[in-house]
Symmetry: C2
Subunit: 483 residues, 2 copies
Amino acid sequence: MALCARLDELDYRTYVLLGDGECSEGSVWEAASLAGLNQLNNLIALVDVNRLGQSEPAPLGHNLDAFKDRFEAFGWRTEEIDGHDIDEILEVLAAVGLGKQPLVILAKTLKGAGISFIQDQEGWHGRALSKEEAARAIAELQPTAKSGVGHAIPSPTQLPPPKNDVGPYPPVNYKLGDMVATREAFGNALLRIGGADQRIVALDGDTKNSTYSEKFLKKFPARFTECYIAEQNMVGVATGFATRGKVPFASTFATFFTRAFDQIRVAGISQSNLKLVGSHVGVSIGEDGPSQMGLEDLAMMRTVAGSTVLYPSDAVSTEKLIDEMAAHKGICFLRTSRPKTAVLYKNDEPFPIGGAKVLRQADGDKVTVVAAGVTLNEALKAADSLKNEGIGITVIDAYSVKPLAKDIIRAAAQKTNNVILTVEDHYAEGGIGDAVAGELSADGIRVHKLAVYELPRSGKPQELLAKYGIDAQAIVNKVKSLR
Amino acid sequence: MALCARLDELDYRTYVLLGDGECSEGSVWEAASLAGLNQLNNLIALVDVNRLGQSEPAPLGHNLDAFKDRFEAFGWRTEEIDGHDIDEILEVLAAVGLGKQPLVILAKTLKGAGISFIQDQEGWHGRALSKEEAARAIAELQPTAKSGVGHAIPSPTQLPPPKNDVGPYPPVNYKLGDMVATREAFGNALLRIGGADQRIVALDGDTKNSTYSEKFLKKFPARFTECYIAEQNMVGVATGFATRGKVPFASTFATFFTRAFDQIRVAGISQSNLKLVGSHVGVSIGEDGPSQMGLEDLAMMRTVAGSTVLYPSDAVSTEKLIDEMAAHKGICFLRTSRPKTAVLYKNDEPFPIGGAKVLRQADGDKVTVVAAGVTLNEALKAADSLKNEGIGITVIDAYSVKPLAKDIIRAAAQKTNNVILTVEDHYAEGGIGDAVAGELSADGIRVHKLAVYELPRSGKPQELLAKYGIDAQAIVNKVKSLR
């Protein structure tokens, strides 16, 4: 939010309330570091140093100097105050904005201050008072309670509106059959719509040359935030931009978003308008090995409250889905692939959220194959190969994993003897197979799954697709094995 | 690992290699903080400060003083060296163990040092050299290459074995019908087996009075590590203990493990022997609201490579499953509930990983209800209620969510017209319903799901189970609605 004030040239200030125990979280230091580097003198943190955690004293106790040293090392100006003294708080706040550093106010407090049987004592975290205890506490607090008179809080200044203009988006422009990685199409999409849609900002975690978000940076540097290798804070910063009406696209390798699952989950609870794009999914990334492979991202993102999960297979659908994400309110995740894949769709093909495309279908098809991303391309190859043997299969591009186009998929399955085969470059748990089975098994559809069932190793992309049983040949074999 | 050396009274040292870009990650500062607090002078970190990230220069460049200030503020001793000077590295390492602080060696280096066209330049991260470039690079490096003679690395001392004795576990002891929360049974289990199994250590993130791991702390304080509110590092520390042959039980609220998803994922890749116990799952925690409710943990933990996911419904099964976890090699997750639930099983009932219990079954049952945790108790209530109306249901305790007891569940379903109803206190995506549908829909089983389908709010536990459609009445209604 403080970065957004800079972008919109607005003079509001952003306040952050922190607990002392909470300062053990690394995400606090990710944020502190980026704020220091960006010299955000419009950002004020207030740490309630009350000495007590939930289950025992917090690690630094009332040692305000330890907090001071840490924040100063991360580029902040510090002020130590008595957190119970309103005059002191106001005096410090009056000096906000001085210098080039963010300000942290270290407020020494006592938990339960002024109540003799609670003050500075353990065992009261998250515990409600009995009626008698409450009466006693109020009686103790009443005589020392300070009047609010003379402490009027000034109203916020009416701010001019932020720069959030939106015009019509330029059209998508590819040729059928062109080889373009969906991750590069994501970069192209941001570049294409960035001029028309002033709400769009981009963020990356030092992977912008791999995710292709650098295309946006080069054209719109003021609207790009390099968050360095700190994904928790990247999602936090993106959520901040969203609260100011921006449409933040945060990108990194899909699997690195696992670092920020809690931030994403809480953004879900806050119904934030967050857009996440994760690249390098599945074994098809090849040589870099399992630590870099997104094989859990669909499971993670599907289970976020109110999320939309998208998985395009070609450049056109990627660009169209980025447009959809920008228009849709709520958390959206789009997973992109590393290898180049052929453009399958015409430039005017629509890709609504919740849709699916039936790419192959004929009377007498044996099974409906549901795939997305690289496995959709494998499914199309399998369809060609099986056709030569006289076996027909229906092939569906399930680009919208959540919400799933269950009506389209169910209708297709009903024409293939109620049998579906899902194929995905993701672990077997929580991905496309589970989504389809979870939605359609109640209708009597039989769902067979091909997915990555073991910890993969490094190798060439096509070798790995074969080894883990999700390539065209594996699809051919599985289709033939079905009765 | 450094903490484990203390515990086992061994004098080995633990070395950590860090990149400068990586130091943007908050998890580094979580670890730095705990190491400083514990005065781990047997821990040495070496930061390769080469100035360059993947996509642009790292945020602190060659500013070694900035790293020095940060590590010193977190309680570390620092040494700045020329990272290309082996003699200087050895000199600094000779002084390891002095003082009471962990040591960080800040090594100034140049990426691609000694190769004129690469040294200190951007654009070479993760890029392979062409044959010609490689030949040129070797030719440039050869003349300045230093001999290894005189730099013999001393062999590690042969260490006495760590203290990892295991004796027989004492028996479990509850009475049928007693009301005990599964989270408390977890604490009881650690306490019961902690004396017999010296491998067991426990860790918590300042929630030990809620997860009940404090029972272990009180009896075995030397084997408990308070990690404070820093879940990423807690999982990292637990993984370190596991590498030394310990069986680390790390506990916090289930949903707070989302903070550490990346650490858990990477522990999965490392095939670590990690044991995680997450409490306060689902809407049944009640008033604390959605930020504290574990509603995504089954999806997250199922998708971890090689994981085991357990979800007990009563105190006996909880204790037996903790025994199973301690005996099983690999990552295990057990989710516990906040409310007290009745003891359902006798003390000698076995609970093997991969099993399930058929609790109600009769000829003519209409549907097989698969549940676990609080919803199993709701399913039993529903069975009683439906019985009064002449409708029989089979009820299965699916305490092993992964691996799922698919043979037991399939066999039961086949006796109820191939119809299953799953009921779970978890979001609809990636949990028990998806697991059962994903495993059994291929066999022609129809799986209907009851789960939490919207962002929940705060309320009384039983009110929330009703509002989100996973209580006994919802089960009764759903069973009646099935044709």
